[in-house]
């Protein structure tokens, strides 16, 4: 029975090809340092899942954001756990992506033929920080409000363009409902979409070239 289903599917989408091309590949001896990339990806997926749950209750308006978070913490069954995971997941993801990048740097894995993987990686690093920056404002508490105030202020010191960047980020001269709406949209649609696309390319390149081996004396 399963065999028939499998064969039927295999004929239409080529499961066997997928298996040989993606899973049944040779790799050099890998170490635990090589798990950091996939761990970052796991966190990204997990952030997505917990994040979707949070959007069910979260309201992106200055009047209700804080209370809706309070409600998630107090009123929703296991809301505190989901929010806790999302909160700490964000922190861990930044750390993991950073250490992953350091490991790639120290083993010089960014060299031929993996230069493009590295470039995409930088994109991933910056978008991960962007996720953190935009997500931080959403609870609309004192910490997040003032952190975003100084954060956007720093962006505003860019010569010539500063004024424009500041207003584009805030949606006006000051932090307001518009800022929150904007950060929310960036946090749940724009940046995750970019991140997901970049991860796709990153993975494609990694499968194409295989993981680099640990540098040996003669390398």
């Amino acid at each position: 029975m399963w065999k028939t289903v499998y064969n039927w599917l295999d004929e239409r989408i080529g499961l066997n090809d997928l298996y040989t091309n993606i899973l049944d590949r040779p790799e050099p001896k890998t170490s635990w340092w090589n798990t950091l990339g996939s761990a970052s990806m796991f966190l990204f997926i997990f952030q997505g899942l917990t994040g979707i749950f949070l959007t069910v209750y979260y309201t992106p308006s200055p009047d209700h954001a804080y209370d809706s978070i309070n409600y998630i913490m107090e009123g929703v069954a296991f809301g505190w756990l989901i929010r806790g995971i999302h909160h700490w997941g964000a922190t861990l993801m930044v750390i993991l992506v950073f250490i992953h990048m350091l490991r790639v740097f120290y083993t010089a894995s960014f060299k031929y033929p993996r230069e493009l993987t590295w470039l995409i990686g930088i994109g991933l690093f910056l978008t991960t920080l962007g996720m953190g920056f935009t997500g931080y404002l959403l609870p609309w508490n004192q910490k997040s409000f003032w952190a975003t105030t100084v954060g956007t202020q720093i962006a505003g010191t860019v010569p010539f363009l500063g004024e424009f960047i500041l207003k584009a980020l805030r949606g006006g001269p000051d932090l307001s409902a518009l800022t929150l709406q904007r950060f929310f949209s960036a946090h749940i649609w724009i940046i995750p979409a970019i991140l997901a696309a970049l991860i796709g390319i990153h993975l494609f390149l990694i499968i194409k070239h295989g993981e680099s081996h640990w540098p040996q004396k003669e390398d």
Binding site: R25, P62, T107
Partner: protein, 461 residues
């Protein structure tokens, strides 16, 4: 890199593949173990540390010290240190835009900057040294992010040390590395010494750093907590005009508003017609024409937006018959026979609810302030008679039991009226005051427990 190099690299890789493993299941297995470990770590963090509560955003509260997310703290600290440098410290965008911009550009273009085909550490001392010093710097700046650059006594020693660790040592090391980039041994020494001295100087900074004052982040997140917080704020700020239950219809005893007729704010007329946001606006802006001062920080008062929200929640749940109040903890735990109350557990919440509205700075109260333990014992015109350990004639005990203190010189004149002036305290509250003063005013729960005659917790058989 020429084709020869490329061919060599690919051949070496093929050889490693032959000696290697299978992606499935070997590599994936490790990945899964790692992800699972992280999942467990997340569960533990979320359960045992959780997300600390924070007050609601208050754009008017400009006294709040802004801090970015922790992973930007190092940048924040770097900016602060950079700002102290003479001359270039004034050109802000150098540090906010140019230096981070260059760092990111160099990082991005790494594969094109470091063009040598070699991957082994021994052949990459310069890049590895630069990166290592950078990482050590980032970690140290993050750790030092809380330490002020100027201490309370005005000395800038801490700031100087931080600048040395965070800017001068790495900068010197970078210059040395580039100048002597042919000499491997020298580079290794430079990097190790730079990292070590950065760690030592930062360690000194952290050791010298002033003890961080535990900041009060008492945030009411549950409804009962919010109601209690609102009630405390209400008792402090509103009772003198509206009474402790909001029922006052004619103001008495308030200068300038004597005899003023007002709508009782616990009436349906007010509660049913004024929405939550209008209510918080009334409290924030006041009723300047009618005589109610503004309370919101935005308008020069002392309450934040969040605090005003608590007051509104309190009014709704305690007065509005459309809302059902949840169960609320008593103001203080009831006393057992022989138990001695403490300031921390009993007196403080009572005083906050019944006395602080008048007994704080800026009010008419014979200079008797009651906002802290010390103030209760050491202020007031009659300070020597107000609170006397073990003396039931302490003025405080007399006045709360409806015995006004008469002026010894002019016996027909009141020196201190009964307290609180408008409404007598309940007997159990008076009992707490009596036991507290008769037993020598213990401050902490432990001190009080030591004075109690029966054990506070009866052992269960």
């Amino acid at each position: 890199m020429n084709d020869e190099n490329k061919k060599q690299i690919n051949e070496r890789y093929e050889k490693q593949l032959e000696k290697g493993e299978r992606f499935w299941p070997d590599t994936i297995f490790k990945d899964l173990v790692m992800s699972f470990g992280i999942f467990i770590l997340l569960l533990l963090l979320a359960t045992f540390i959780g997300v600390p509560g924070e007050p609601k955003a208050d754009p008017s509260d400009t006294s709040y010290i802004p801090r970015p997310e922790w992973y930007f703290l190092f940048l924040f600290k770097f900016l602060a240190l950079y700002g102290q440098l003479p001359v270039i410290g004034k050109i802000e965008w150098l540090a906010t835009v140019l230096i981070p911009g260059i760092a990111i550009a160099v990082l991005t273009l790494m594969p094109f900057i470091e063009k040598s085909p070699y991957r082994h550490y021994s052949k990459r001392i310069l890049p590895i040294s630069i990166m290592s010093i950078m990482v050590v710097g980032i970690v140290l700046l993050t750790l030092m992010s809380d330490v002020p650059t100027v201490s309370k006594d005005g000395s800038s020693l801490l700031g100087t040390l931080q600048t040395i660790a965070g800017i001068f040592i790495p900068l010197t090391a970078y210059i040395l590395l580039f100048v002597f980039k042919k000499n491997t041994r020298f580079m290794l020494w430079t990097t190790s010494l730079a990292a070590l001295s950065m760690i030592l100087v930062s360690g000194t900074v952290l050791a010298l750093a002033p003890e961080k004052e535990a900041e009060e982040t008492e945030v009411a997140t549950t409804l009962p907590d919010q109601i209690v917080a609102g009630q405390d704020l209400y008792s402090i700020h509103c009772t003198e005009c509206h009474g402790d239950d909001g029922a006052v219809a004619v103001i008495t005893g308030v200068e300038g508003l004597e005899g003023e007729k007002i709508t009782p704010i616990n009436s349906r007329d007010v509660l049913y017609t004024v929405t939550d946001s209008a209510m918080s606006e009334v409290i924030g802006y006041g009723r300047p024409n009618a005589g109610m001062p503004p309370f919101g920080k935005t308008y020069g008062g002392e309450l934040t937006k969040g605090e005003i929200d608590y007051i509104v929640i309190f009014m709704r749940y305690m007065w509005d018959d459309r809302f059902e109040a949840p169960e609320i903890k008593p103001l203080f735990p009831p006393l057992a026979d022989g138990e001695v109350p403490s300031y921390d557990v009993h007196i403080q919440p009572i005083v906050k609810r019944y006395c602080i509205s008048c007994h704080r700075a800026g009010k008419d109260n014979n200079n008797y302030l009651m906002t802290t333990y010390e103030e209760i014992l050491t202020t007031g015109d009659q300070v020597s008679n107000n609170v006397i350990a073990g003396d039931e004639n302490s003025y405080l005990l007399q006045v709360i039991q409806e015995h006004a203190i008469m002026n010894p010189e002019k016996p027909e004149e009141e020196l201190i009226g009964v307290m609180p002036p408008t409404k007598a305290l309940k007997p159990d509250v008076i009992d707490v005051f009596i036991r507290w003063i008769m037993n020598g005013m213990p401050q902490t729960a432990e001190e009080a427990a030591a004075l109690s005659t029966t054990p506070t917790t009866t052992p269960t058989p």
